[in-house]
């Protein structure tokens, strides 16, 4: 059967992508998961993977062409009895397309009142109780800053955030890091941010409501744990690629995957799943000297963990004595539609417990 390969959506804020390079040719056999093209979005250059096994019949999209999300870019012959997907061409204004995407409306199902059935902004507004503010600027973002601005503005407008904060006592954790790294070769040295991520991943296993998306009024826990890692660029901007299947990796695998993700993000070599499947976000502004971060949730995720600078501070220790200890502030920004403060507080408590007992980071279960 024939199968139309569409330009995929690599994020809720993506309208179109620029097809940079084909990695296949007509006549090639393609397997599911194979990289078939490189696409540039407002955020990054991304390798697009095939969702089917099949044979390439035709490459429709041209290299260098800007192509709207959903438009057919290639034609495959695929196995099985799946019918050919006819891509319905919908005439829709950019503002209406943006509004529909922002509000989870299926563009293919829209009916327009404009010329030749074109879907206008008023048509999509009529389908939603939430009206777009008249002052909203045109939604044709062309750079990373605009993409961030759009996602964050949408988040603050729609998500009822609540915030919690606690102070992590990291004395035992830092001693554990020293001991572990003393016995590892330099190439396998553990990174502090990767190990704190390990504590968060193990805690997410126990608190699935924090590893979820909120779409169309429903909170749906994600099947895998794919935390987004906020990675900043030296020339400005930030991206949040997902550390895929973090719950299936052991301590050392997570450490190397974390580093690999940083490197590939900076090189612009991310895969489409890494941009679309983040199940929550971790942002670490300790490098910048900030002690505390109260972040904005990246929709449709339902929570964000913010980490501040690791520093020495006076603390009352478990035995009641007072002394200098390594500490860091950890904050939780969470969507009140998906969870309440009690759930959020328990999540932070579990992370704290792992970091106070870091030997459990080496286990796949624990608390």
């Amino acid at each position: 059967m024939k199968y139309n390969v569409p330009m995929p959506s690599l994020g809720a804020d993506m309208d179109q992508g620029k097809l940079m390079l084909w990695k296949i040719r007509p006549g090639d056999n393609v397997i599911k998961g194979q990289s078939i093209a490189v696409v540039e979005t407002t955020k990054s250059t991304v390798e697009i993977e095939s969702f089917k096994n099949g044979k390439v019949l035709e490459l429709i999209g041209g290299e260098g062409e800007e192509i709207p999300v959903g438009k057919v870019i290639a034609l495959f012959e695929v196995e099985g009895a799946e019918p050919m997907i006819e891509t319905k061409r919908i005439k829709i204004t950019p503002a209406a397309r943006r509004y529909a995407l922002d509000h989870g409306l299926e563009i293919e199902s829209l009916k327009g009142s404009g010329s030749e059935g074109q879907v206008e902004l008023r048509d999509v507004e009529a389908l939603s109780d939430r009206k777009a503010p008249k002052s909203e600027p045109p939604l044709s973002g062309v750079n990373l800053r605009e993409a961030i601005a759009r996602a964050m503005a949408r988040s603050k407008k729609e998500i009822p955030h609540y915030y919690l904060k606690t102070e992590l006592q990291l004395g035992k954790f830092m001693n554990w890091m020293d001991e572990k790294n003393k016995n590892l070769s330099p190439d396998k040295r553990l990174m502090i941010p990767a190990m704190i991520m390990r504590a968060i991943v193990l805690s997410l296993k126990k608190h699935p409501l924090m590893n979820a998306t909120y779409v169309n009024g429903v909170c749906v826990p994600m099947e895998g744990i794919h935390p987004g890692v906020a990675i900043s660029f030296k020339d400005g901007g930030v991206m949040v690629p997902a550390l895929l299947d973090a719950d299936k990796k052991n301590l050392h695998e997570l450490n190397s995957s974390f580093q690999d993700l940083v490197v590939r993000t900076r090189k612009g070599e991310l895969k489409n799943r890494e941009l679309t499947e983040g199940s929550m976000t971790v942002t670490n502004l300790g490098d910048s000297g900030a002690d505390e971060v109260l972040g904005i949730i990246f929709p449709p995720q339902v929570c964000l963990i913010g980490l501040g600078r690791i520093r020495k501070a006076p603390v009352v220790k478990e035995d009641g004595s007072i002394g200098a200890e390594f500490v860091a502030d950890i904050s939780l920004s969470a969507d009140h539609r998906a969870s309440d403060g009690m759930t959020g507080a328990r999540f932070l408590q579990t992370i704290d417990l792992y970091l106070k007992n870091p030997q459990h980071l080496e286990e796949s279960h624990g608390y």
Partner: protein, 94 residues
């Protein structure tokens, strides 16, 4: 490894990891993070390279105490001098 040798090694490592940083302009007695923008990942790579080139493993708990580069250089210089010569060192764990 004396202080001057250690400084030269640091200059090479910084050039390799963060070529945008002009090492010779860093004032060693002032806080490093106030002078250059370097994130935890690049700093981690610098620490890994220091260990590879000098054999000195810098504990994370020590790293957080060093604010000026001269403290780090002094630590590496002292520790490397205390190490057995390269052919006498035990290899790292696999």
């Amino acid at each position: 490894m004396d202080i001057e040798q250690t400084k030269k090694e640091f200059a090479l490592i910084f050039h390799e990891i963060a070529p945008e940083v002009e090492f010779h302009k860093i004032k060693l007695d002032l806080p490093l993070r106030d002078q250059i923008e370097i994130d935890s990942y690049d700093f981690y790579r610098i620490v890994v390279q220091i260990q590879k080139k000098t054999g000195v493993n810098i504990p994370d708990s020590k790293l957080s105490e060093f604010r000026q580069l001269e403290q780090l250089i002094s630590y590496v210089s002292t520790e490397s001098s205390a190490l057995p010569s390269p052919h006498q060192r035990p290899g790292p764990a696999p």
